[in-house]
Symmetry: C2
Subunit: 336 residues, 2 copies
């Protein structure tokens, strides 16, 4: 399988265009709300929080909220009150996502995220931990303002799952024998639940019936899982100029992912590795090369693409179905 | 003023007794819920979370929820559904409190809390950060289960305030000229808002009218402020065998508190100190001695006791008014 790097920001921009003018308009309002949430408490606190939010990337989760809510292409389906609630729901999901990024950067002592200095790098561990806590609390404040207790329930479950996933990852660290089921469970907690919640929140705000809500949630969950699997492939496959980080950072953290899980069955020497001995970027890159040599990357990619196909197949027949399919494709295309 | 150390756990136990049999019964259920929340995900995650919750102390905040809700002494005012919601609300406040303790211990690299090893000490920085995030998310999950959006609103505001207070403290670190207003604002964010929220949540669940809710909230806020002021006095005054930590830990963190703010006006040599040079426990203890010599500790204590008196004076005439007064006294008595 050839690697054709794609610019993810440009890709999402084209998705947004396909959705018609109202989706980008509302995404613009999400952006304003995110900045307001960050700067509310003055430059000292607001500046690092803003930097994090700005570095947060493609706004894929807010986009899912809006599409699952059925925000259509026409101006005449605008309802100011519903729009405000949607913007809040979309922002709350991104705030939770940003909070986890800030905490992850603290834990990994990451100097850069998407080419920007992290809060940890510019303001230290203590500020970054508090900024993450603050973004997290703001997420609940925004969502509470929508007046939907069910929405808060969805986000609190997702937040529990995120923390649980992080705990699971840390407790499984360095264990090269981690079962594949446990790996998938962890991906579900760490990534898929927030994608699922974005779709479920959108569907809820859009007034979708129960079966459609469930269908959209399942779609989000599947593309979230695929997203994480492909992220894990990318960590092994690189190239660094595309990913913005060296090959093998997961290995250096002790995080065992699907490529290694597949590869250890094919190469007994990998199964026998003591991951605690892998302490340099060079050693990590060497293991990545051996993982790739087993064909495990293609196998892991294929599993992810199957999930994307299932996500598309199971999509309920909603107004923005075509654009949701494009979102699914964009998750797959990042790496193929 | 003489120092008569009081056992706070025994003191709270006597408060609970004064409240009649139903309050301890419900506090027992809060305890069960807290343990369940912690252990839900197996020993790896649950054990450190449990340890933190167990080390959390006196359950003053859950007690305030129950008293503000008007849980009376008689068995015949039990309403199973209301009781469950109250237990959840009380647990949610304690979960938020526990979450901040876990994160504080990470930031301060504290090996012990109330004589128990911290999650940071036993499981490391990464696990402790994730455990804090998890407890925080669980708080919202528990409170959402009460079905009250207003309750979630109260807790999300309190959580934002806690993080904001932490950020303010870090951004003001080492600044010996910090204005007293800013110090009090920080205490409000870091401590008083959660006490206020505990009372407001209880009043809400107990169905109190608006003016009583506000009155109970103001009571909580005042004793919370007094609690923090007296905590800051204790950090300077010790004795370590009473506080469980060396004198002057705030100074070593760069945290400027009321005793130093008062003392710097009375002793120009203190105002001229460069706090970044205070890097050893001995140096911190020496500064604490100079703060005490100015009489600043008595002045700070007097301000706290005034707040406690105002809290009692402003208490609405609710069923457990007498016990709430005892709670206020217990805050004052810890240190007098």
């Amino acid at each position: 399988m050839t690697q054709t790097p794609v610019d993810p920001a440009a890709q999402v921009a084209s998705l947004v265009d396909a959705a018609g003018p109202r989706v980008p308009e509302l995404l613009g309002r999400v952006e304003v709300l995110l900045r307001e949430a960050a700067v509310e408490f003055g430059p000292t606190v607001g500046e690092p929080a803003s930097a994090t939010i700005a570095a947060g990337g493609k706004r894929l989760r807010p986009l899912l909220v809006l599409l699952a809510a059925g925000v259509g292409p026409a101006d005449d389906d605008a309802d100011p009150e519903r729009d405000l609630d949607l913007v809040r729901a979309a922002a709350s999901v991104e705030l939770v996502h940003s909070a986890t990024l800030v905490h992850d950067d603290v834990l990994d002592a990451s100097p850069l995220r998407r080419g920007h200095p992290t809060v940890w790098a510019t303001h230290g561990r203590a500020m970054a931990t508090a900024v993450g806590d603050y973004l997290f609390a703001r997420a609940f404040a925004e969502l509470t303002a929508t007046g939907s207790l069910e929405a808060v329930r969805i986000l609190s479950r997702a937040s529990s799952a995120l923390a649980e996933g992080e705990l699971l990852q840390r407790s499984d660290a360095w264990n090269i024998d981690v079962p594949v089921e446990r790996y998938l469970h962890r991906c579900g907690l760490k990534t898929a639940t927030l994608f699922e919640s974005a779709c479920a929140l959108g569907a809820l705000q859009g007034g979708a019936p129960d079966d459609v809500r469930q269908g959209l949630g399942a779609f989000g969950r599947r593309i979230g899982l695929a997203f994480q699997l492909l992220d894990d492939v990318l960590d092994v496959a690189g190239p660094p100029e595309r990913t913005g980080k060296p090959i093998g950072t997961d290995l250096l953290d002790g995080t065992v992912t699907l490529p290694l899980i597949i590869a250890r069955e094919r190469d007994a020497s990998l199964a026998a590795e003591d991951l605690r001995q892998v302490t340099t970027p060079e050693a990590a890159a060497e293991i990545c090369g051996r993982i790739a040599a087993t064909g495990a990357l293609d196998e892991a990619r294929a599993q992810a693409l199957t999930m994307v196909a299932e996500a598309k197949d199971g999509l309920p027949d909603v107004g923005q179905r075509r654009v949701l399919e494009l979102v699914a494709d964009s998750v797959a295309d990042r790496y193929s």
